[in-house]
């Protein structure tokens, strides 16, 4: 009897001693939770994930990431769990203490698909507390998508502490998403959640609201249906705005490519099939400028385009003057011959560039002020497209002012309107011809600088723009810069609105066919010059 009691006391004492000694290893909710990973049972693992994720322990994140990467090793015999780190070393998952080696009996904790989702949500929940706002925002967004109930306390905790405005909004969305799907949330909370998600108003909000299921209270279901309708109509509006923006962007590219042609073809009546190659030369000038800057003055990289613009104008303009003096001036009044000769010239220029720079694409970088994008409502606007639009309009305005207010512009207009009269007035028409052609080519060169930012710089760069440019000029009306402006933006916007309906290629074909038909109706384009001179 006594012995029996003594034995019990001893056992108890031993148990207490053992408990005290083993405290850091076995006791506490976190360590218990970690231990559950070792049972190799999916429901235990799920519990463990939930407990670890909400523990607030600094080891929680590494553990969950290791679990996700199948680097969490559990030993079923000792119930110990280890994290195999990327560098090959291992730590004890419960304590964080480094261990020499993982026992051979340990194997990776297994996951099934349901658990993988839980793990993802847990990772989202854990990064919610990251010090980096961008990480917090992306974590909040992943919670928004998964609306995992278990992370609700974390989200709410993070929301309370959050100071960053964007991150706060993201947390609110995430919280609303969780509440909406939480079966025991109050109706008031759910209605509020619907309102929050409706305010978000994007494709994901729509997907979330369409996904809430039928077991919602009637008021919530009704509010959700109304929100879906509202989001759909706002999305339709935004997609129109987006198409319009894409159209403006495409239009600006077309205008940029066509504006030089509007001068050589529109004002001088010279069919310059080598126009695209002038654009290509401008793009290659940018490439050369950037190469020099990269190797010699890396600090100037952000200014490379500013340096390239005047250089491209000079290079392309000089080559333009050379072409006019050596070929085109012999072919005035023979437009079809000019077409053939300049086509031949374009082959020569392409092959020359191919020989000098190689046939492959050359890399032209974006300066920092042209990379990136910003959000405007539901659409994303990239800075390079925005800059190109501004740049195009600036070039257009400068050209217009130049033709209107400078002596050269006056002479150009005079020669265009009546060559013989202008010559009689003492204008050196051949000089004006050369300068006009140089101007048109130079502007094509400038266009090349801008296009190098959004297109591949290769010897074929110009070929892809030449037909489009001619279409713009012919559509807008020859001899009229405003016509070119309207033509470019009309074609750009029409193209982008046709694209979602008909697909990119069919849309383009449709535009070509429409232009062909349009020319039947108005053979001289949208804004035709009136008078007899055009008929000649």
């Amino acid at each position: 009897m006594l012995a029996n009691v003594l034995y019990r006391v001893r056992t108890l004492a031993l148990a207490i001693v053992l408990t005290v000694v083993a405290w850091p290893a076995f006791a506490g909710p976190f360590e218990d939770a970690v231990g559950k990973f070792a049972t190799d049972d999916f429901s235990d693992t799920e519990e463990a994930i939930g407990a670890v994720a909400t523990s607030g322990n600094p080891l929680a994140y590494p553990i969950i990431r290791a679990l996700q990467g199948e680097r969490l090793m559990a030993d079923p015999d000792t119930k110990k769990v280890y994290i195999k780190q990327d560098d090959g070393k291992a730590i004890d998952a419960a304590t964080g203490a480094p261990v020499d080696s993982i026992p051979d009996s340990a194997s990776a904790v297994r996951l099934n698909n349901r658990l993988r989702r839980t793990v993802e949500a847990a990772v989202g929940g854990l990064t919610l507390l990251s010090p980096d706002p961008a990480a917090r925002i992306s974590a909040a967004q992943s919670v928004f998508r998964s609306h995992e109930e278990t992370v609700l306390p974390v989200v709410e905790g993070a929301l309370a502490k959050e100071t960053n405005k964007t991150a706060k909004a993201a947390f609110q969305d995430a919280r609303a998403a969780i509440l909406l799907f939480k079966s025991d949330a109050s109706e008031v909370d759910k209605l509020e959640a619907v309102a929050t998600i409706k305010a978000r108003g994007d494709q994901e909000a729509l997907a979330l609201l369409s996904d809430i299921g039928t077991d919602q209270p009637p008021a919530v279901a009704k509010a959700a249906a109304a929100a879906i309708a509202a989001i759909q109509s706002s999305l339709a509006m935004w997609s129109t705005v987006q198409n319009a923006w894409y159209g403006l962007s495409l239009g600006s590219v077309l205008l940029l490519a066509a504006i030089g042609l509007a001068i050589t073809f529109g004002v001088m009546g010279v069919i310059n099939m080598a126009h695209g190659e002038m654009v290509m030369l401008g793009a290659y000038t940018t490439f050369v400028v950037q190469e020099v800057i990269r190797t010699r003055y890396p600090a100037l990289f952000d200014y490379s385009l500013l340096i390239a613009v005047p250089l491209a104008f000079l290079v392309a303009g000089a080559i333009g003057v050379l072409i006019e003096r050596s070929i085109i001036r012999f072919l005035y009044g023979r437009p079809l011959e000019t077409l053939l000769a300049t086509w031949g010239l374009s082959l020569v220029l392409q092959q020359a560039v191919r020989t000098m720079f190689g046939p492959t694409n050359r890399e032209v970088g974006n300066p920092s002020w042209m990379s990136g994008a910003f959000e405007l409502g539901q659409i994303t606007i990239t800075y390079n497209r925005l800059w190109i639009l501004c740049f195009t309009l600036a070039v257009f305005a400068i050209l217009l002012l130049m033709l209107r207010f400078t002596a050269l512009g006056l002479e150009m207009r005079a020669v265009t309107q009546n060559r013989r009269m202008a010559a009689s007035m003492g204008i050196a028409t051949s000089r004006v011809d050369a300068l006009t052609f140089g101007l048109g080519s130079g502007i094509a060169g400038i266009a090349g600088v801008a296009l190098s930012q959004i297109d591949n710089v290769s010897p074929n760069l110009g070929q892809s723009y030449i037909i489009d440019s001619f279409m713009v000029v012919v559509f807008g009306g020859v001899g009229n810069l405003w016509g070119t402006l309207v033509g470019a933006f009309t074609l750009g916007i029409a193209n982008k609105f046709l694209e979602p309906v008909a697909g990119a290629v069919l849309g383009k074909i449709a535009i070509l066919v429409l232009i062909i038909l349009f020319i039947q109706k108005r053979p001289r384009g949208l804004f035709a010059l009136k008078g007899r001179a055009v008929e000649a």
């Binding site: 437009p335 079809l336 086509w343 031949g344 082959l347 020569v348 012919v474 074909i509 070509l512 008929e535």
Partner: protein, 389 residues
Amino acid sequence: MSPHLLTRSLDRAATIFILVVAACGILIPLSNLLLPAGSFLQVPTYLVALWGKYVCYAILALAIDLIWGYCGILSLGHGAFFALGGYAMGMYLMRQIGTRGVYGNPILPDFMVFLNYPKLPWYWYGFDMFWFAALMVLLVPGLLAFCFGWLAFRSRVTGVYLSIITQAMTYALLLAFFRNDFGFGGNNGLTDFKDILGFNVQADGTRAALFLLSCLALIVAFLICRAVVTSKLGKVLIAVRDAESRTRFLGYRVESYKLFVFTLSACMAGVAGALYVPQVGIINPSEFAPGNSIEAVIWVAVGGRGTLVGAALGAIVVNYAKTFFTSGALAPYWLFMLGAMFILVTLLLPKGIVGTFNAWWEPWRAGRKSAAAESAAREDGVSEPNPAE
């Protein structure tokens, strides 16, 4: 102007041209088939196919010369008619493959099986019959040219505007034929042909026969063009070329003349394409590339526009040069040469080889005969086709 002399001298050139083409058409296949392989005079089969290709290009050049040289219509989209004719023939050849394709489907060509077509698209019906395909070779390009020309000429789209929209037309077709769901094999086009009218397309005999046929087609096309340009109709065409408004004011329906000659020319281009496909063994959308059409125009310009013989000669000379240079060490320089050819011919040789030769030869020959004839010939020199309008 002395139309009599002009007509007669060209008649002589025409006779020589026809005789030379006929001699080639008979002798080359004979030498290929009858002489032992490796013999000095034997023409290898690959050369027969290559020259067959040139002859097809010559027909295309004749078609372009008919409208550009005699009517002033510079079409930069004639490659489209050529390719459409080629596709019509290619569709017939595809249907002839039958169960010998990779997938062994008796009805659907391989690419349709590959792209999961449930059944033959309606526009492929009838192409298993040769006569239907042959009809389509003429009809499809002809109809397209008729519709296009009817719209364009009626609203008086002329000069460079017409050139640009013909270019847009072939570009639009290029984009369309590149699409897989358009039903013409997309990017890869139509190929792997087996036989034509029961004869193996790879066989020497078939190739020789196709070459002979191409030469015959060239002769027929040439005779048709000659008949058109020497008739009264041809005179009106030349009048349209030189002074369109004046011709209209004289009471001629300019657009009808243009439409007729444009459609005729498109049909000829279609026939050229149809003969081209079985000899080359493939037709794909790159035939629609605007560059190809412009290149065809330069053949005419090099040979001499408005001379017919020159157009055919130009096609053969330029393409021979292309084959010669692109197959050797000079390949990187071919585009320089082609480009320079465009520039130099338009600048220095606006009449082309044959036109320039005529301008030198005629006065010299006439001068030998009599002083009177000489003065007539000089006038003739002046009345040479005006370069462009």
